[in-house]
Structure formats: structure tokens, C-alpha cells
Symmetry: C2
Subunit: 475 residues, 2 copies
């Protein structure tokens, strides 16, 4: 083992969360090392957000175009799957991280490629792919940003069936003839949408009674309806009991509870994530390996004053943008503490990740798009708020009808009746992905409804649903 190198900050994991911590600590003048065992840029850049959206955008743009009179007829044929996949490859840099390395250089952070492990307070060891060892000492802080990996259930035959996870689903080089998708959450519905559009015959097998179970019920209902219209089969309340691959290149058969079987050429398990914490030396600092890391509102690991966790691994919000948000806050906290400045732990303050709890936004890039921020009605009720859900048919908004003939969608605002502010908003419909941020601002800023009346939506945009929601609430 070589001599130890000292840094102010050592970041374990070079995904968006880790990168953003490094960006902020470097901006504060703190020397920073970033340790990454795979590609700098992380899951998001190579096997999640970016390639998935590169696959989905053509599907959604085609669906949009098909709903436009005068254009629809031009778009009868299938997508050019080869062109879509090549463009996806371009977005991932062909799974090389040269671009990210250049950025890391530009901010002056040092990269250590290899597997990083804590081995006691403020100490990290790194083993490079070539077997070299480095020891990094962190004067100020160690930040864990190691993310998650796909969680494949331990069913009979799963390992031999070589199932797809989100990685294979976003990086595959051809559309399978038949694709079974096990799961009903975001990865499941997005990948079902993409591959159905790219030429696969998709069967979705969701365990629960509906898709997108964390969103308002109508989100999963509308997405299931559209998937079926696109030609996919969607089965809910379905449990997969075992998997059999017929030889090395043969089809895979899923046995379902109740005795049905589903045959497919590939099977994607989109059944959750597990934290990458089983081999990062947590035991050397008195923490349990393999679990999610428990943090406070400042993303500091409970009971440690030098250890932080950002991104998926702290289980606050498994979303790239939220990991980056936490990273900005942790960067500010570390910088303040290094400078001896006070840490402001008031809600919505500069050192508190309040939005994780109160204003968490998410866009599901299906057709229709499903976008939500804050609490659903059920969540708000469970949290004890006195609330009212205000619903509106998006298709009745002029701007929506102009956007797409036969527009089909729905909006819900969850109003806190005591304070007359919004606790959550959900939009489901074509073209709502950019509409969400208006709701995110309203929820995060706790804008009173009385003031939202002065935020006039331009006519004729889909955003005019805001006016309809306010009118419906006024009654």
C-alpha cells in the first residue's frame, strides 16, 4: 500500500450526485478526490436516465405527431430502430466516460479509478482495476455516493435465465421479438413503452393492482391504457414464480402464480433497487454493510460528523435530479463547516434537503407522460393534512386539444385546506413533462392559492389547466 494522500474531501462514487458534491467542494476551494469503480457519470449517464430517454424520445415524438392532423399520415411506418439505437449510443458516449473525465479535470478534482472502501474514520482505500492500492485521508469529510443496482428477485431459474436489468434494457443493441417486463414502476413502464415502439411485442407483468403505484391512481391507469393501445399486453396482480431459459439462445418462459405461463425472447426485471453498500467498508466505522444509509436533512450520516451520503444510497429519493440537489446541499454544508461558518438547518434553508420530503418532482417519460411533485392525495391524508383533491380533465383544456387531437389526460392538485397552499400536483398527458416545473415552483415555494390566481397561464397552452384547477377549487 502506497503512502496516504490527504484531501479535504473524498467522494466515493462518480455518478451525478458524487460529481456534484465534488463540483461544490472544489468551488469552495477544498481539495477533492473522487473514487469510481466503473464509468464516471454513473448509472444515470450510461444505463438509466440518458439512454432511456434517448430511446423514448422517438417513441413519444412519433406518438405526438400521430395525433396531429395533416402530419399523422406521414408517420404510418415503424421507427427506424437502428437510427434510434445509434443515437442512444451517441448519448452514452458508447459507454466511455471521456467527456466526464474532461469535466472533472476542469474543476480540479482528482479521480481514483477503482473500488473504494472506508477503513476507519476519514480513511478510504482504493483498489484500482490493475491491483494498485491508494490510501486517501479526508480532513473534512467523506461522502458516500455509491448508488444502487437493480434488485432481481431470487426466483428459481433466474440466474440461468440471464434476465435483463435496467442496464441491458437501456443498452441493448437490438429489439427482442418478445420482451417480458416484470414490474410496474418507472423503469418497467418506460422500457415497455420504448421497446414496444422499437419493434418488440411487450408483456408487462406487474405485481400490484396498477402501474406506477407511487403516483396518483390515474397515472398508472392512463399509462396502462396507452400501452395496451400501442399493442403491449399489461397484466396486473401478477406474480412471477419461476423462470426457465430454453438453452443458451432459446426463449425464456415465466411461470406465474395461478399456473399461466408467458414466453418471451428476453425478460426484464424492473423490480426495485438495492444500495451498493455491501463492500464499501461500512463495518470499519460501525455501520451495517448492505443497507441503506440513514441521513438527516443535511444528508450527514446519523451519528457521524465527517460522513455524508447523497443520492440513491440514502434512500431519500431515488432520482438523479434529487441526488444532485442533495449534492449541492452537502457541498454547501461541508464548505460551511470547513470555514467555521454556521450550518443553517431551517427548512428550505441552504443546508437542508427539504424538497426531498416536501417537493419531490418526477417525470415518467411514457405516452402519456406522467409527472408529479410533492404528495399524492393518499400520502397527504396519511401525513395528517386536512386536504382536498382538485381534479381536471386535461383533454378539455383548449391548449391540450390543440396540442393533440383527441388529447387524453388528467390533472390533480392536492390542496392543504388549512394553509391554502399546494401539497402536491400530478399531470398525466402528452407534453406535460415541461409543465411539471410550474407545479414544482408552486409547491416548493408554498405559493398561496390567492397568489397563484395572478400567475396567468398563456393561452392556448396546456398550462391553462392551472386556471381550471383554481376555478374548480373555488367552485
Amino acid at each position: 500500500m502506497t503512502e496516504a494522500v490527504e484531501y479535504d474531501v473524498v467522494v466515493l462514487g462518480g455518478g451525478p450526485a458524487g460529481e456534484n458534491v465534488a463540483d461544490r467542494t472544489r468551488a469552495a476551494g477544498l481539495s477533492t478526490a473522487l473514487v469510481e469503480s466503473e464509468l464516471v457519470g454513473g448509472e444515470c449517464s450510461y444505463w438509466a436516465c440518458v439512454p432511456s430517454k434517448a430511446l423514448l424520445r422517438p417513441a413519444l415524438a412519433r406518438a405526438d405527431a400521430r395525433r396531429v392532423p395533416g402530419l399523422a399520415a406521414a408517420i404510418e411506418g415503424p421507427l427506424d430502430t437502428g437510427a434510434v439505437l445509434a443515437h442512444r449510443d451517441w448519448w452514452t458516449g458508447n459507454w466511455k466516460d471521456d467527456g466526464q473525465i474532461g469535466w472533472l479535470d476542469s474543476i480540479g478534482a482528482d479521480l481514483y479509478r477503482g473500488h473504494g472502501r472506508l477503513y476507519g474514520e476519514r480513511k478510504v482505500s482504493v483498489t484500482s482495476p490493475e491491483g494498485e492500492h491508494h490510501v486517501l485521508l479526508a480532513r473534512q469529510a467523506v461522502v458516500l455516493a455509491t448508488g444502487t443496482r437493480a434488485l432481481v428477485p431470487d426466483l428459481p431459474g433466474v440466474a440461468e435465465a440471464r434476465p435483463w436489468t435496467s442496464r441491458e434494457a437501456t443498452s441493448a443493441q437490438a429489439a427482442p421479438g418478445r420482451l417480458a417486463v416484470v414490474g410496474g414502476s418507472v423503469v418497467a413502464v418506460e422500457m415497455a413503452t420504448a421497446w414496444q415502439a422499437l419493434g418488440s411485442r411487450v408483456t408487462v407483468l406487474a405485481r400490484g393492482p396498477r402501474l406506477l403505484p407511487r403516483m396518483e391512481p390515474f397515472a398508472g391507469e392512463l399509462v396502462a391504457e396507452a400501452l395496451r393501445e400501442a399493442g403491449a399486453e399489461v397484466r396486473t396482480d401478477t406474480a412471477v414464480e419461476s423462470v426457465v431459459r430454453d438453452g443458451p439462445t432459446g426463449p425464456v418462459t415465466l411461470l406465474l402464480a395461478g399456473g399461466d405461463t408467458v414466453e418471451a425472447d428476453e425478460v426484464l426485471f424492473a423490480t426495485g433497487r438495492s444500495p451498493r453498500t455491501e463492500d464499501i467498508g461500512l463495518d470499519t466505522v460501525g455501520l451495517e454493510p448492505g443497507g441503506w444509509l440513514t441521513v438527516g436533512e443535511d444528508c450527514r450520516v446519523t451519528g457521524k460528523d465527517w460522513l455524508y451520503a447523497v443520492g440513491d444510497v440514502n434512500h431519500r429519493a431515488l432520482l438523479t435530479h434529487q441526488g444532485k440537489y442533495q449534492a449541492r446541499i452537502v457541498g454547501a454544508v461541508i464548505a460551511a463547516r470547513a470555514a467555521g461558518d454556521p450550518v443553517d438547518t431551517t427548512p428550505w434553508g441552504p443546508h437542508t434537503a427539504t424538497a426531498d420530503i416536501k417537493a419531490l418532482p418526477q417525470v415518467v417519460f411514457t405516452d402519456p407522460e406522467a409527472a408529479s411533485v410533492g404528495l399524492t392525495l393518499a400520502e397527504a391524508e396519511r401525513a395528517g393534512h386536512r386536504v382536498r383533491a382538485v381534479d381536471h380533465d386535461l383533454g378539455s383544456v383548449t391548449g391540450a386539444g390543440l396540442h393533440a387531437h383527441g388529447y387524453h389526460g388528467r390533472a390533480r392538485a392536492v390542496v392543504d385546506l388549512d394553509r391554502e397552499v399546494l401539497l402536491g400536483v400530478t399531470f398525466v398527458g402528452p407534453g406535460v413533462s415541461e409543465l411539471l416545473h410550474s407545479a414544482t415552483v408552486a409547491v416548493a415555494a408554498e405559493v398561496p392559492l390567492a397568489r397563484l390566481w395572478h400567475a396567468v397561464p398563456a393561452f392556448p397552452t396546456i398550462s391553462e389547466v392551472w386556471l381550471r384547477l383554481l376555478e374548480t377549487y373555488r367552485g
Copy 2:
């Protein structure tokens, strides 16, 4: 003249502003008459917002689709112009107002078809197309919502040339081979975009140095660039001096200052609007006919306690959504005064049209879309604010790049340095029309920048430009 009929409220003009006044006064239990000389629904429904967007949406959807790898090749051919025009006809109800009449019935307002004129305080006479006369007495208020008409400059030969105005440009039943568009503002650039996409060869002749002169300079620059790429000719700093139509069906020739000529099959004058106030009896109540009506923040006509003006005619903001906003406020003011309740004239209060001045939103449905709210940098500086413009290249935002390959666009936030709130925001780029409302909420609610950091844009949406703007401001 028949016996007078008494109402609480008489509204002159049945466009969106007048309709919304009636909606609110009826909701307050006040009897209401609405007088309309043409189609109920007004300019917006038949010759402006609605048909123009029905013409534009296919053009924009095709442009969007062409920027999507794997889909682009399917969209080589021209739009089906017949299908687009037929769909536009459907949106305008073939220029029949049956749908609007049904709505008026449902709220319980009485419709008087015909030309309405004041003839003294609280009195309105209506002459129907059949020559019948009605006298309406208004116990509480008369609301003028007569709107505007196209202003065609009085150039030699104009009348004989039978030029298009916004009405012909939105209702034409075929694409002219060559269309000259005189003007550089919203109607000019939208109609140039639509007809160029529908098969015309368009020449834009703008008087000023750039298009969209009321927006940030880059808006007009990007729209001009895109119009040229689409095959249109765009000439700025150009004055039309005279117009000659060659016989009843022949082409029209425009003579420009400097001696150039432009020949076209039709010429659209999109050169401004004039208020429809010359023949509504303003002289009978001591006001000057033909001019814009001067109102206060509550949209009450200056010096009158019973007369209001909403929509285009008060010249506060010539936009449908803003007319509707004023209508809601006037409805609330009239209802409060009728009930003897106090009128709350504080800024952003329920009886004050503050957004007209502080948070006016507008979307121009060109390719790229241009969307803005609040003040431009130049306007903010002129108003004496200490400001900084924060710019960002929209094409560098991951969500924008995923939306369209080769995405080209720009965003600007105008920050009030004293209060650290936003005075204005402009987005120009494909797909930004629904993004605007996030800025409208932020500007109208005066959300502090420190709080906007907690409004996390979902990744990867175009909305992530918000994060870049905040980062750029922080520096």
C-alpha cells in the same frame, strides 16, 4: 325603441374577456346581459389564438419530429394542407358560435346580438342585425370589452389590393403560392411560420431591425434564423411605401422604401391593432371615441364609478389570457361593490390586475417557440431596477438535447439584485411553451432565488435550464 330592460351588469363585447366578466358576475348572482355584434367567442376563437394555433401545431410538431433520429426520415414530405385547414375549420366551429351560445345559456346570461352603444350613464342601446332596438339599463356596471381590429396602414393602393389581415390569415381556405407578410410582431411571425409550412413561399417585411421587438433581442434573432432555414425570406429595416394589385385576381406588388419591389399572391398586413371604440357611444358619457380606454388597476375607466374596460380595449395587455384575467378581477370588483364589500386595491390582491404590469406572460408559437413573462432586461433597466441578466444556452441542457437533436435555443432570467427575485424570464427554443408557466409562477409570486434552489427540475427535462440559470447567477 322598446321598453328598457334592467340588468345588474351589461357587457359590451362577447370575446373571452366579456364572456369571463359575465361568468363571474353571474356566479355572484348578478343579472347580466352580453351584447355581441359578431360571433360570441370573439376574435380569439375565430380569427386569432385558436385557428392560428390549429394552423401552427402541425408545423411545430413536424419540425419537432424532424429533429428526432429514427423518426425524421418518416417526415420528409409536405404537410397535408387540406387536413390541417379542415382541422382548423373544426376548431373554429366553421365560424359558427353555437358552442359558445350553449355555454352562455348554461351560466344564465342573456345574449343581445347586435351593435351596442352607450347612450349616457349606465345605459346601452343595441341594434340587432334585423334592425330591432333594445335598451339595457345597468344597475351596477357597464363593462366594455369590444376588443381591437387589425390596423392596416393607409398606404397608396392598400384598399384596392384587398390585403389579408389576421382574419384572412387565420381563416384562408388555401395556401397562396407566395405570401408577403408586412410586420415583425407576433401575428407576422406566427402566420409566416404557418403558411411557409403549409406550402406558401413567404417573405417577411419588418419595419424594425429585428422580429419580435418587444421580447429579448435573441427571440427575434432565433425566430428569423429558423424562418430562413424553413425557406422564408426575412427582410428587416424595410418600409412598404405602396401596394399595387394587378387586376382582380392578379398578383400584388409591394414597393419598398429604397426602390425594391416584392411580388406576392397575397399580402398580410400584421401591423398592429386599433381599439373598437369609435362607434360605441363614448361621446355620450364624456369620453373620446376611437381611442384606447384608460383604466386603473381594477380596470375601472378613469373618472367613472360604473364603467369598466377589459381585454384589448384598455391597452394594458393585448392577449386573450390577460383579458380573461382582467375579466375575473372586474367580476370580483363588481360583485364586491354590489354587495357593499370593500374593494382590496393592494398589489396582487383579488381586485387588482397586477400581473398585467409585473408578470405578463406570452407564448409565440413559432419554431422555435418564444415564451416570456415579466420584464425584459431593457424594460427592467428603463424602470430603474438594479438588475442582472443571466443567460444560458438551452441547447447545452441535456433534456433539450434529448428533446431535439441539434437543439438550438436560449434562456434569460432578469434578476432584481436588490430583492433577489426574478423580474422577467424568456425562453426561446423548441418545446418551451409549457415551460413558461414555471417562470410565470416564480415572477408572479416573487419567489426568492434562495427558495428557487429547492424547486428541483426533473432530469432530464428542458426545465433543467432553471438549475443552470441559478448556477450561472451564483457564478
